[in-house]
């Protein structure tokens, strides 16, 4: 089962992984620039795009991004996703009906066009 071409397959998977991680890094770089809250109203500026508000002892982070940034970016992204999902669950009967009709429309469209 495991043959010569499977090695190429792993290479292909590895390349896709590299591309995905590069995109993830770019995205995290963009997302993690900014603020995050730590407590009552205090904000920490991880990367100083706003020089006036950079808190002391964190200046060295300006212009850099680290693994921590990626992590923060991921956490913020996931958190935003949760918020979107929760907001989507409105509890309105009309919405439930609309989702049911949309589902049936998707299946119907797929089957009529491709079936």
């Amino acid at each position: 089962m495991f043959g010569y071409w499977d090695a190429l397959y792993f290479l292909y998977a590895f390349l896709i992984g590299l591309i995905i991680s590069y995109l993830l890094m770019k995205w995290a770089e963009k997302v993690s620039m900014g603020t995050r809250r730590t407590g009552d109203g205090t904000k920490i500026y991880i990367s100083g795009e706003d020089q006036d508000k950079v808190i002391p002892h964190f200046e060295h982070l300006s212009g850099y991004f680290t693994g921590r940034h990626v992590m923060w970016g991921l956490i913020r992204g996931v958190h935003r996703m949760f918020l979107v999902f929760r907001r989507e669950h409105t509890g309105l009967l009309t919405d439930y009906v609309a989702y049911l009709l949309i589902t049936i429309a998707i299946v119907l469209g797929a089957l009529v066009i491709g079936g």
Binding site: F82, Y96, L100, V107, G115
Partner: protein, 527 residues
């Protein structure tokens, strides 16, 4: 013939419940236990028969042959039980039996109990009917019996606003979905003039028109609602927490399986067989492109397992968390069925179907256990808010132990039964398309996060709410411990069960040689 007793016994129990309840106060509860126990025995017998002989049982209502007088096609209602149906009937009867025993202690303080037990038996009857029927209108009737019983049971505690609101939402949208299924049946009947599933399969293969495709779309749409796939999962998250916990265990463990994914699998593989249509297309004959429906199911499955498990992470209500986790697990089952449709006839497809069937059984047991645990906590402590429940482990050790086993099994830790089924689904989806396997693993990560939260809550510092808590009574502990024992035993021999039961079941469902149709054709004779 033992097959009709699968319907007769719960029906008899439900009809005789008002009369029995006149006799005494306690008798109706024991009567419900006896009736569901007898159903369990019958279903075990049927499962053993089908598994031993490896043949499909075809039973005709009202006569000894499904063929009408003077005509060459089936006109009677038939029940057609293959291994998949028999396995699900066994699971349904088992979990239903445990839920009835659990209700003895859990529902002790409620009124109107004879209606409760009548409805619970009717719910069981509807699900058993769905899994044994071979007639599509009969399927609709049993689906509606099951649905109406579950609407009523969700709203059973009508003195709370939660049950009523969840019941109304479930009922209105659920009836709309049922109407769409009926519309699909009407279209199929108008086009092909028959209602027997296996004969319908032949007729559709002879002349697959646009009407058949539209009917298939209505079926799939309505049944995705009934199984709680993602854009239409919201009733599930509302209804399961609002119902009494023994009912939540049945709803989450059985109803979304029997009325949802089982029916999807039966319609996709029984009426529109992918192999049959691929064979027709190879000869340039008109056929339904079943790959499209496979990709539709896979699409909704991926959505379901991501969103369901992710929503479980952010809940504060314990039963709501379990309900969203059910949505996520339905995603795995649908993924298995979708890959089974796409990779029909190959090793990956067979494995995926076996994994889906295995996961149906495993999830029914595990989620029933988890909801029973939640019910025990609610019964003893009076709240289901996770923020108020910390430190339960010291006060209720047996309940916490059951929860730990259930949580570990549903995440898929190796020595327990959830691991085997999930592993088969990952493996087969990786064989078909690695991206799908990656999505499935991401879903499991969310699931792990959700259950870790509950576990930390149970093991944490003691809060004020639980100072007085103690273990529930025996009739509630025993079903939980039975489920724990079954989960551990099934976890110890995963591959044996998979090879002996699940793979033959998947083969029979897949019907590479058209066994489901052949069982009927035997009567027609060379048609």
């Amino acid at each position: 013939m033992t097959l009709p007793f699968l319907i007769i016994i719960p029906l008899f129990g439900a009809f005789s419940m008002p009369i029995v309840s006149l006799l005494g106060k306690k008798i109706k509860e024991y009567w419900a236990v006896i009736v569901s126990g007898a159903t369990l025995a019958v279903s075990a017998k049927i499962f053993y028969t089908v598994w031993k002989t490896n043949e499909i049982i075809l039973y005709t209502l009202g006569s000894d042959s499904p063929i009408g007088k003077g005509v060459k096609f089936p006109i009677r209602i038939v029940w057609e039980v293959d291994l998949f149906g028999a396995l699900l009937a066994l699971t349904i009867a088992f979990v239903g039996f445990l839920a009835v025993i659990y209700s003895l202690g859990y529902m002790k303080h409620d009124t109107g109990l004879e209606k409760y037990y009548t409805l619970i038996l009717i719910l069981e009857l509807g699900m058993l009917g769905i899994v044994i029927t071979g007639d599509i209108f009969n399927f609709y009737v049993f689906l509606e019996i099951m649905s109406i019983a579950s609407y009523a049971l969700v709203a059973f505690r009508n003195d709370t606003w939660e049950g009523i609101e969840a019941g109304i939402k479930y009922m209105f949208v659920g009836s709309l979905a049922s109407s769409f299924i009926l519309l699909g049946i009407a279209l199929l009947y108008g086009q092909y003039g028959t209602l027997t599933m296996s004969y319908l399969a032949i007729k559709i293969a002879e002349n697959p028109t646009l009407v058949a495709k539209i009917a298939l779309a209505f079926f799939i749409g309505g049944l995705l609602f009934k199984s709680g796939a993602v854009p239409v999962h919201m009733w599930l998250a509302d209804a399961h927490p609002a119902a009494p916990s023994s009912i939540s265990a049945m709803l989450s463990g059985l109803v979304i399986k029997a009325g949802g994914v089982y029916a999807v699998a039966r319609i996709v593989f029984g009426i529109f067989n992918p192999g049959l249509h691929a064979y027709l297309r190879a000869f340039n004959a008109p056929a339904v492109n079943m790959d499209v429906i496979g990709w539709v199911i896979v699409f909704f499955a991926c959505l379901t397992l991501l969103v369901g498990n992710a929503m479980a992470v952010v809940q504060t209500d314990m039963k709501r968390l379990f309900a969203f986790s059910s949505v996520g697990q339905i995603g795995y089952i649908l993924l298995g069925i979708g890959i089974g449709t796409l990779a029909y006839g190959t090793k990956a497809g067979e494995l995926a179907l076996a994994g889906a069937i295995y996961h149906i059984v495993n999830h029914a047991l595990i989620k029933a256990l988890l909801f029973l645990v939640a019910g025990a906590v609610i019964h003893q402590v009076g709240t289901k808010n996770l923020n108020e429940l910390s430190g339960l482990a010291k006060k209720m050790p047996l309940t916490t132990f059951s929860f730990v086993i259930g949580a570990a099994a549903i995440i898929g830790l190796p020595p327990l039964n959830g691991f085997a089924s999930k592993w088969i689904i990952y493996e087969s989806s990786a064989m078909y398309n690695p991206v799908l396997a990656a999505i499935a693993v991401v879903g499991t990560v969310f699931s792990l996060a959700a259950y870790t939260r509950v576990l930390f809550t149970f093991l944490g510092r003691e809060s004020d709410m639980i100072k007085e808590a103690k273990e529930p009574e025996k009739s509630m502990i025993i079903p939980m411990l039975i489920l724990v024992a079954v989960i551990i035993v099934m976890g110890l021999l995963p591959w044996q069960i998979s090879d002996k039961i699940m793979v033959p079941t998947a083969r029979m469902l897949e019907q590479l040689n058209g066994e489901y149709i052949m069982a009927l054709l035997k009567f027609i004779g060379g048609a």
